[in-house]
């Protein structure tokens, strides 16, 4: 637990987050392969081992393939080879990013701001849920096109990560927004909560892979894309499992595009605009803006 240090003391604004943070924080992202391009000090065994183990396991699963023999209620395990490999690789990279962060604890102001952002995101969800029948109705002639509207639902997670800049911010903000949406009541009921969890996990994994050091436009676009991948896969799995593969691919591409444009560009622009107003002055993202 954090030491009870007032976030509003003047001294706080002078202290820069942590010394090993790269000065180009917020710049373009080079997408370092889990620690390789990270500043010195991050390349510890704690970071490298999980990444290496995850990637090796994934490669093995991919190369060997799961046995076709034992079938899980009729569907062969071999069909799950690719998802399992991807899951293993992502888990390894995520663990690497997570363990090699400086583990700055969340201050009360971080938690409350993330919560408020989550609830505001939930408010945005409610507005968008209400307009969704109109939007999807307009696209009903070609149903997979409705994927271009999902980006609004991905915004709070990416925004939370960009504003708070702490491990877990994307997951917490998106999950809370989804819970609010479900509490108010929407077309999708309780599954909204699962959606929120996974939609937050997508960008969370990406920011973890970037070792929670990059929060610029590139990282934001990547976070939006990651959330888009998740929601595209989820929707084709939960709501449209009987679409043809062609329709499914179109839907997933539309969802990723929407995630990149609305959640990625949108969060980045919102964070910049928010920092300019000075509203973020007691948070890591606001401190960064002042330094520029």
């Amino acid at each position: 637990m954090a030491a009870p240090e007032s976030p509003h003391a003047p001294a706080r604004t002078a202290s820069v987050p942590s010394p090993d943070r790269s000065p180009s924080d917020g710049g373009e992202t080079a997408r370092p392969p889990a620690g390789a391009a990270a500043p010195a000090g991050a390349l510890t065994a704690r970071a490298v081992v999980p990444a290496a183990v995850g990637l090796a396991l994934a490669a093995t699963v991919w190369a060997v393939g799961l046995p076709a023999g034992p079938s899980l209620f009729g569907s062969s395990l071999a069909d799950l080879t690719v998802p399992t490999a991807i899951l293993l690789a992502l888990t390894g990279l995520w663990l690497a990013g997570w363990t090699s962060t400086t583990r700055e604890t969340w201050r009360v102001v971080d938690i409350v701001t993330a919560s408020v952002l989550g609830v505001a995101g939930g408010f945005l969800f409610v507005l968008w849920n209400l307009s969704w029948p109109v939007v999807s109705g307009a696209l009903a002639a070609f149903p997979p096109a409705s994927g271009i509207g999902v980006g609004i639902w991905l915004l709070p997670g990416v925004l939370g990560a960009l504003v708070i800049r702490k491990p877990g911010a994307a997951l917490y903000t998106e999950l809370l927004a989804a819970v609010v949406s479900a509490l108010v009541g929407n077309q999708w009921g309780f599954s909204t909560v699962w959606y929120g969890f996974l939609e937050g996990l997508g960008p969370e994994v990406l920011f973890a892979i970037l070792l929670y050091r990059r929060f610029g436009l590139g990282a934001s676009l990547g976070g939006g894309a990651a959330a888009g991948v998740v929601v595209g896969l989820l929707d084709t799995f939960v709501y449209y499992p009987t679409f043809s593969p062609w329709f499914k691919s179109v839907y997933i591409v539309a969802a990723i595009t929407s995630g990149v444009v609305i959640a990625g560009v949108g969060s980045w622009a919102l964070t910049r605009a928010l920092a300019r107003t000075g509203a973020l002055s007691s948070l890591a993202s606001g401190r960064d803006a002042r330094r520029v």
Partner: protein, 268 residues
């Protein structure tokens, strides 16, 4: 008292078996049911689960009218999703209806029914959970029973109190913009106006959040040391019964689906 306007409580019996259960028990059931049913798309599993859920409804403390008022929106989402699948799903079996490029076959009709039933059976426990649970009780239970980090749970609860405020702020922001002559008609114009208004709303709520954090910290929130609770959240033996009932529902539904041969993992 509920934070969000979930409607009057008059069609709710708060002393019903499920309604007075610990919120965490209800949450476990809702998570369990949704996870199990999302694994498969078949009429038998979803249908059996929905029937069993309907059978235990009398113990949930929610009257039919209350259920309809809170749950209609789930139906409104489930039916179109099923129709889309019936229209566009992979065709198989006998052709029942063919209008131009659209064909409805036995296979796609069955798939459409399965989708609708699945959304309904996943949604019903959620409707009951949300209708019969006070957010404050839920937060207490999540922090004390489920042992989630209490700073996050309580901050989320505090932030939820701002939700109703956000609605009125959204309206006054819109009115202020109209008074200044900002605000366009049409789809594009309204989208542009709304995006500007989102930023204004975010500035307002973040400023309020920062002040709230200061006020909470000034009263010792987040201080080191053990936290004590004014409201204790207890787990009773009947809560175990609620969880067991949930386990029975998903087990019976899944076994029925497997026996009928319709259960198959929807991942593939």
């Amino acid at each position: 008292m509920t934070v969000l306007s979930l409607g009057a409580d008059r069609d709710l019996r708060p002393d019903a078996f499920v309604a007075r259960a610990n919120p965490v028990a209800k949450l476990v059931v809702a998570l369990l049911v949704s996870l199990t049913l999302l694994l498969t798309v078949d009429v038998v599993t979803a249908g059996v689960a929905l029937a069993l859920e309907a059978a235990v409804l009398p113990w949930c403390g929610l009257s039919a009218a209350g259920l309809l008022r809170r749950g209609w929106i789930v139906v409104a989402g489930a039916v179109p999703a099923g129709l889309v699948t019936t229209w566009l799903g992979v065709d198989s079996g006998e052709v029942l209806l063919a209008v131009g490029p659209v064909t409805v076959t036995q296979g796609s009709l069955l798939a459409g029914c399965a989708i609708t039933l699945r959304i309904l059976s996943v949604g019903l426990p959620g409707v009951v959970l949300l209708a019969t649970t006070d957010p404050t009780d839920l937060a207490d239970a999540l922090a004390q029973v489920a042992r989630l980090p209490h700073r996050f749970v309580l901050a989320a609860l505090a932030a939820m109190r701002l939700f109703a405020l956000m609605g009125s702020e959204w309206e006054s922001l819109g009115a202020a913009r109209r008074a200044r002559g900002i605000g366009d008609d049409g789809v594009v114009g309204r989208a542009r106006t709304a995006s500007g208004q989102v930023l204004a709303l975010l500035v307002l709520v973040i400023r309020r959040g920062t002040r709230l954090a200061m006020a909470m910290e000034a009263r010792g929130f987040g201080a080191p040391g053990a936290r004590t609770w004014a409201r204790t959240s207890r787990v009773r033996r009947s809560d175990l019964g609620v969880v067991l009932a949930g386990v029975v529902i998903v087990t019976v539904a899944t076994v029925a689906g497997i026996l009928a041969g319709t259960w198959h993992l929807a991942l593939t």
